[in-house]
Amino acid sequence: MGIDIRLPIGILFSLLGLILAAYGFFGDASRYRQSLDVNINLVWGIVLFAFGFFMLLLGRRGMRVAPQKSGSQSSHSSGHNR
C-alpha cells in the first residue's frame, strides 16, 4: 500500500535517536544517577539512530525496487518485499 513502512519508521527512529543522543550529550550528567550512572539517553539514542538509519536504507531500496516489480509477484524472503 502506498508507502514502504520502513521509510516512516526509519525517519521516526532516526529523529528520536538524534534527539535523545543530543540531549544526553549536552545535558547534565548528574541526572543519570537513577539510571545507574549510565548515560542512557546518549547510549540508547545512538542505538535508535543506527536502527532508524538502517530502516531508511532498507526502505529506500524497497521503494526503488518496488516500481520495477509492480504487477509481478515479488516472492522472496520476508525482509525484502516491497
Binding site: 502506498g2 537513577q34 539514542g45 522472496h76 524472503s77
Partner: protein, 593 residues
C-alpha cells in the same frame, strides 16, 4: 513530564497522523479500507498480528502478573499463545484466506449459516466497543494516578480534574483521525511502529533493571524460588503461585482460551487477511510468534525486578505521621482505599499491593527525562494501537456482517466505504461512552467482561469442527455455541475461588466446588464451555441434514486441495517457521523450568 518528554511524545503523534494522511490517497474501495487492499507484506502483517493484541492493558497487566506470580506469567505467552499462533498459521489460515471471506463471521456464514454468523457478528461488535472503552478508561486512570500531566496542567493553569477527560479525548481523536483516513492499512502501519516503540522503550528498562539487581542470578537470589521457575510446582494447584495445576493450565489456558482467541478472534485474524498472498497470510501468525516468544523478557521481567528492589522509605506528607514501615513490596506501593487514603486490606487483613503500578514505577525509577518520554510514548502507543485494532475490527464486522447483511444489502462499494468511515466515528464515540461508564459503574464492566468470556469460551470448538469435520451443520454450530455459553454460565454460577464471596466471582446458583484461585476457576469454566459446545455440535449435526459437499470446497480440510507452496527460501516457508518457533518455545520452557 519535562520539555524533552513532550517533544518525543509530540513527534510520535505527528508521525501517527502523518501515516494516516499519507495512506488516505490509496484508500479507494471498501477492500482498501477494511482489508488494506490485501496487499501487505508478511512481516508487516506478522508484527501487526502480534501488536494488535499488545495493548497497554496487556503491557501493564503482564508486568503486574510478573510482580504477583513471577516468571510463571510467561505461560500466557509460551503455552497461552505460541501453539495457537502456529496452529492458526499452518492449519486454519488456508480456509480463512482461501475462502476469500472478508471477516471471521463471514466465514461462519459460508461454512454454516446466517444465524451462526449473526450471533458471532453481533456479540463480537459489542465486545470490541466495550473492550476499547475499557482500555481507554484504564489508560486515562493510569495517567491520572501517575500524575504524568499534573505539572504541565498546573503550569498552564488548567484544572487537574480534567486530566482524565483530556487523556481520553486526545487518544480518541488521534485514533479516530488515522483509522478514519487510512483504514486498516493505517492501523497496521501504526501497530508496526508501536511494536518497535515498545521494544525501544522496554529493552533498556529490562537491561537497567537486571543490571541493578545483579543479572538473572542476582534476581534469583533476591526472590522466592517459585518466582523464577515456570513449571516447578505446577504438579499441584497449591504448590505454585498461580493456584492452577498443570492440566487446568494446559487445557484451559493452553488449549481452550488461547486457541479461542488467536484462532477465532477477528481482531487478530483481520491482520492476516490483509496479507498479499496465501503464503504471506499463513506466515503472518508465525512471524508474529517469533517476537511474541521473547516478549516476556520485555513486559514480565520488569514486574519481577520491581518486587526485588529495595522498598523506598515512606514519603511523609505534611500533616501525616511518619511511618517507618516499608509502604509496599519492592517499588510497588500498597493499594490505597479511595475514601480513607489508607492501604486497602485483603480478606486476611494484610494490605493489598497495587500491582498495576509495577511497570509504570519501573519507568519512573530508572528513566531520566528523555528516556522517560520514550517509555511513556511506548505505553501510550500500545494503548492507541490496541484501541485502533478494536475499532478497525468493529467497523469491518459492522459494515460487512451487520449493515450489508441485515440493514442495507446491495448498495454500491462506495456506499460501504462511506459506512465504514461513519462506523469508525460512532465506534469511537461508543467507546468513549463505555470508558465513562467504566469510570462510574465498575461492576457493570466486570459483569460485561464475564459475559464476553462466556460467549468466547466455546468458539474454538465450533471452528475446529467447522474446518475439520465436513459433517458439522449450521444447526449444530448454532446450538453448540449457545449451549457452550450456557455451560460456562452454569459452571461459573456453581463454583467459587477460595475466599471469594458469591456474586460476580461465581457461586450465584449455589456452591458445588471451590477452586484454589480465580485463575483456576476461569480456566475450568472455559474447559466446560468448550467441551459442551464440542459434543452438542456433534450430536445436533448428526441429527440434522448433512450439508452439501459441493458447497464446502475451500472451507473444510478434507474437501480443499492443499495450498500450493510459493517458491520460498527454506527458512521462510510456513512449516519451517513453525518448527523454529516451537523449538524456541520449548527451549525457553526448559531454561526457565
Amino acid at each position: 513530564m519535562t520539555g524533552i518528554d513532550w517533544l518525543i511524545l509530540g513527534l510520535y503523534f505527528v508521525f501517527v497522523l502523518g501515516i494516516g494522511v499519507a495512506l488516505k490517497s490509496s484508500v479507494k474501495t471498501s477492500t482498501d479500507f477494511f482489508l488494506a487492499g490485501r496487499a501487505i507484506p508478511a512481516w508487516v502483517c506478522g508484527l501487526a498480528f502480534m501488536s494488535a493484541n499488545l495493548g497497554a492493558q496487556e503491557v501493564i497487566g503482564m508486568g503486574a502478573s510478573g510482580a504477583k506470580y513471577g516468571i510463571a506469567t510467561s505461560h500466557f505467552y509460551w503455552i497461552g499463545a505460541i501453539p495457537a499462533m502456529v496452529f492458526v498459521g499452518i492449519f486454519m489460515m488456508p480456509f480463512y484466506y482461501g475462502s476469500r471471506a472478508r471477516s471471521v463471521p463471514e466465514y461462519l456464514r459460508l461454512r454454516f449459516d446466517e444465524k451462526t454468523r449473526g450471533l458471532n457478528a453481533i456479540s463480537f461488535a459489542i465486545m470490541t466497543i466495550f473492550s476499547s472503552g475499557i482500555s481507554m478508561y484504564a489508560i486515562a486512570k493510569l495517567i491520572q494516578t501517575l500524575r504524568i500531566f499534573d505539572g504541565t496542567f498546573q503550569r498552564l493553569g488548567l484544572n487537574g480534574s480534567w486530566i482524565f477527560d483530556f487523556a481520553i479525548l486526545i487518544s480518541a481523536v488521534v485514533v479516530l483521525a488515522y483509522t478514519f483516513l487510512g483504514g486498516l492499512s493505517s492501523a497496521i502501519y501504526n501497530e508496526v511502529v508501536q511494536f518497535f516503540l515498545i521494544v525501544a522503550g522496554f529493552l533498556p528498562l529490562s537491561w537497567l533493571g537486571l543490571k541493578s539487581v545483579g543479572g538473572w542470578s542476582g534476581l534469583k537470589a533476591k526472590l522466592d524460588p517459585s518466582f523464577t521457575h515456570s513449571w516447578v510446582g505446577m504438579g499441584h494447584a497449591h504448590t505454585n503461585p498461580l493456584g492452577v495445576e498443570w492440566f487446568g493450565l494446559a487445557m484451559g489456558l493452553g488449549f481452550v482460551l488461547s486457541f479461542g482467541y488467536w484462532c477465532t478472534d477477528f481482531l487478530v485474524i483481520q491482520r492476516a487477511m490483509a496479507a498479499k498472498s496465501m503464503s504471506a497470510a499463513r506466515r503472518t501468525p508465525l512471524i508474529g510468534a517469533l517476537p511474541k516468544m521473547l516478549f516476556p523478557f520485555l513486559v514480565i521481567l520488569p514486574g519481577l525486578i520491581a518486587v526485588a528492589l529495595p522498598t523506598p522509605p515512606a514519603v511523609t506528607h505534611a500533616g501525616m505521621t511518619a511511618t517507618t514501615e516499608p509502604q509496599g513490596r519492592g517499588i510497588i506501593p500498597y493499594k490505597l482505599d479511595a475514601t480513607t487514603g489508607k492501604p486497602a486490606l485483603d480478606k486476611d487483613g494484610k494490605p493489598q499491593l497495587d500491582y498495576d503500578l509495577a511497570v509504570p514505577n519501573m519507568l519512573l525509577h530508572y528513566f531520566p527525562p528523555g528516556m522517560l518520554g520514550l517509555g511513556l510514548t511506548a505505553l501510550l502507543a500500545s494503548f492507541m494501537s490496541g484501541m485502533a485494532g478494536n475499532v478497525t475490527a468493529f467497523n469491518t464486522v459492522w459494515t460487512y456482517d451487520i449493515y450489508q447483511s441485515y440493514i442495507r444489502p446491495g448498495a454500491t462499494d462506495q456506499h460501504y466505504l462511506w459506512m465504514g468511515r461513519v462506523a469508525t466515528v460512532f465506534g469511537i464515540a461508543f467507546s468513549i461512552a463505555a470508558a465513562y461508564m467504566a469510570n462510574r459503574f465498575n461492576n457493570i464492566m466486570d459483569m460485561l467482561q464475564l459475559v464476553f468470556a462466556f460467549v468466547n469460551a466455546p468458539l474454538f470448538a465450533t471452528f475446529l469442527l467447522g474446518m475439520f469435520w465436513k459433517r458439522a451443520t449450521g444447526h449444530g454450530a448454532f446450538s453448540g455455541l449457545l449451549s457452550g455459553t450456557a455451560a460456562a454460565a452454569v459452571h461459573h454460577g456453581l463454583t467459587l475461588s477460595a475466599g471469594a464471596v458469591p456474586g460476580i466471582k461465581g457461586g450465584w446458583l449455589g456452591l458445588v466446588h471451590t477452586y484454589p484461585s480465580e485463575m483456576a476457576q476461569n480456566f475450568w469454566t472455559a474447559i466446560f464451555a468448550w467441551t459442551t459446545c464440542f459434543f452438542v455440535t456433534i450430536l445436533v449435526s448428526l441429527l440434522t441434514r448433512a450439508p452439501e459437499e459441493s458447497k464446502l470446497t475451500g472451507l473444510v480440510y478434507s474437501l480443499t486441495p492443499r495450498p500450493e507452496e510459493e517458491p520460498l527460501a527454506w527458512y521462510a516457508r510456513p512449516v519451517s517457521l513453525a518448527i523454529i518457533v516451537l523449538a524456541g518455545t520449548l527451549l525457553l520452557n526448559v531454561i526457565f523450568w
